[in-house]
């Protein structure tokens, strides 16, 4: 990505206060508002500056611009079914079984073959006497037309089995949706809560408001995306396969510094970019100031983070 030239900071002669009627007209079809001039920007009460220059700019409010990262691991398994959903799907499959056509055994087990003999031996007896009804049983091709058919597949013929057929009969054992990390409550593991989205939260060495999404200051000549890439390497190391969803920020948080804490800036403005991790591990790097980290779901984050921050970030996150 080409690094853009940072424009010089606004000086007092650049600023022309304009009245409320002189708003730039927003014409339909103009997708980008990139032609907004310095005059338009003065409409807001705060005078922004892209670069910090303590000497040139007037005694205006300066905010530290930071780029943050909402790094998430997408769900690996489908959402958990509610009891009603489970019951409904069961109801639908029973209906389908009732309406299913009779199994064409003459096609799969032709008459006279050994397989057919084995198949027939295993099938349940269908005489229609299990249903207490006035109608006489309506049985066609060994199937009572008034109910669902039960087809029992014969057991493996171990004598006539080959290596290939053994592979076909090998039972598929599905893995459990609840992993070891779930039982141990390992918050640093990415194998926890497979049906939910996990977000990375880092802890800085601070007394209060320690848990946050990672963020770093946007340096001169950098873009938000560039800062995010640098941030990822500096905080978590290179061993992460990530993908930035978009260059557009997904969330914005602003906080003000106490006047005694910082003389240069009045506060910070953080623009969070959303990114996804597909493989690898987050390893806190030395010199990043990170004491601890955790991969948490949206509802868990609420308990880790202070209220103002949660209010800013909550709507950007996904519940599932």
């Amino acid at each position: 990505m080409a690094l853009r030239h940072v424009p010089r900071p606004l000086r007092s002669q650049d600023i022309r206060l304009v009245g409320p009627l002189a708003r730039p007209t927003c014409r339909q079809g103009h997708r980008s508002m990139g032609t907004a001039t310095a005059t338009a920007e003065t409409e807001s009460s705060v005078l922004p500056s892209t670069a910090v220059s303590v000497g040139d700019s007037p005694a205006s409010v300066a905010f530290k611009i930071m780029s943050g990262l909402i790094l998430c691991r997408q769900p690996i398994v489908t959402p958990e079914l509610t009891p009603f959903e489970r019951a409904y799907y069961n109801y639908q499959s029973e209906l389908q079984k009732r309406l299913m056509w009779t199994f064409p055994r003459w096609f799969y087990y032709p008459e006279g073959t050994l397989a057919e003999r084995q198949f027939s031996a295993v099938q349940p007896v269908v005489d229609g006497k299990d249903r207490a009804e006035f109608e006489k049983p309506d049985i066609v091709f060994n199937r009572d037309r008034r109910s669902k058919q039960e087809v029992v597949l014969p057991e493996r013929d171990v004598e006539r089995e080959t290596e290939e057929s053994a592979k076909i009969y090998a039972k598929i054992e599905p893995r459990s949706r609840i992993t070891e990390a779930d039982t141990k409550d390992d918050f640093r593991s990415l194998e926890r809560k497979l049906d939910r989205t996990l977000y990375l939260l880092v802890k800085k060495d601070r007394r209060e408001n320690a848990w946050k999404f990672p963020a770093a200051e946007v340096l001169d000549g950098e873009t938000l995306t560039g800062t995010a890439a640098r941030l990822l390497l500096e905080t978590g190391g290179p061993n992460m396969n990530t993908w930035l969803v978009s260059n557009t920020p997904a969330a914005y948080h602003r906080y003000d510094y106490k006047p005694e804490d910082n003389e240069k800036y009045e506060g910070a403005k953080i623009f969070y970019l959303k990114s996804r991790i597909f493989a690898g591990t987050f390893i806190p790097q030395k010199g990043s100031g990170i004491v601890d980290y955790a991969w948490l779901t949206k509802d868990e984050i609420q308990h880790y983070v202070h209220r103002g921050y949660w209010a800013s970030m909550a709507n950007a996150l996904s519940r599932q």
Binding site: E41, L99, M100, R145, D195, N239, T248, Y252, A279, T281
Partner: protein, 187 residues
């Protein structure tokens, strides 16, 4: 394809392969594997004088054409609902009430889910819009670089759709970036 109903019924009745021709369908193959469809197995062997056919099982009348026809009809019978379709479900009044209640409850659940998803997306969208507005106020340069969109948007190869059960190897924790700079994706 409009055929007389009676004729269709006649030809689509499921066949048992009791009348199969002596000759193999494949013709001049030197050795035939035993067929699962036919009752008899026939092995054709080419000799100097002609072909010898060794057969095992029932002898059958008719030529190869009838055998093929039977096979086709057998397959077609699977497509027709004749003698395979079960009875229509006739619900009593109470049963139909139950069915309708279940259906309406399901529609309600689906609607609620759809609405929740719509609201969540709406909130996310307005968050993005707010962030972009603030960015534009803050820095024009950063804003313009943030508005750059790849056309068309490209998704990574590792993008995975959730499955019902997890894969054998749930997470690759030992992933290392590839050595080649070209294949590397930094963000």
């Amino acid at each position: 394809m409009i055929l007389a109903q009676g004729f269709l019924r006649h030809i689509l009745r499921p066949r048992t392969p009791s009348l199969f021709a002596n000759s193999s369908v494949l013709g001049d193959a030197s050795v035939l594997a035993p067929s699962t469809f036919s009752q008899q197995t026939s092995i054709d062997v080419k000799t100097g004088n002609g072909t010898l056919m060794f057969t095992r099982g029932k002898r059958s009348r008719g030529g190869g054409e009838t055998q093929q026809k039977h096979k086709m009809v057998n397959m077609l019978s699977l497509i027709s609902p004749r003698q395979k379709q079960p009875r229509r479900i006739k619900l009593s009044y109470e049963d139909s009430l139950r069915h309708r209640t279940v259906h309406r409850a399901w529609q309600l659940v689906v609607r609620t889910k759809r609405e929740e998803r719509r609201l969540e997306l709406q909130k996310q969208y307005y968050k993005i819009k707010h962030a972009c507005d603030e960015l534009r106020k803050t820095s024009q340069v950063l804003y313009e670089s943030a508005m750059e969109k790849p056309s068309p948007i490209r998704f990574p190869m590792e993008y995975r759709i959730p499955t019902v059960t997890p894969p054998r190897r749930i997470w690759d924790a030992t992933w290392k970036p590839p050595a080649e700079e070209k294949k590397r994706r930094t963000v």
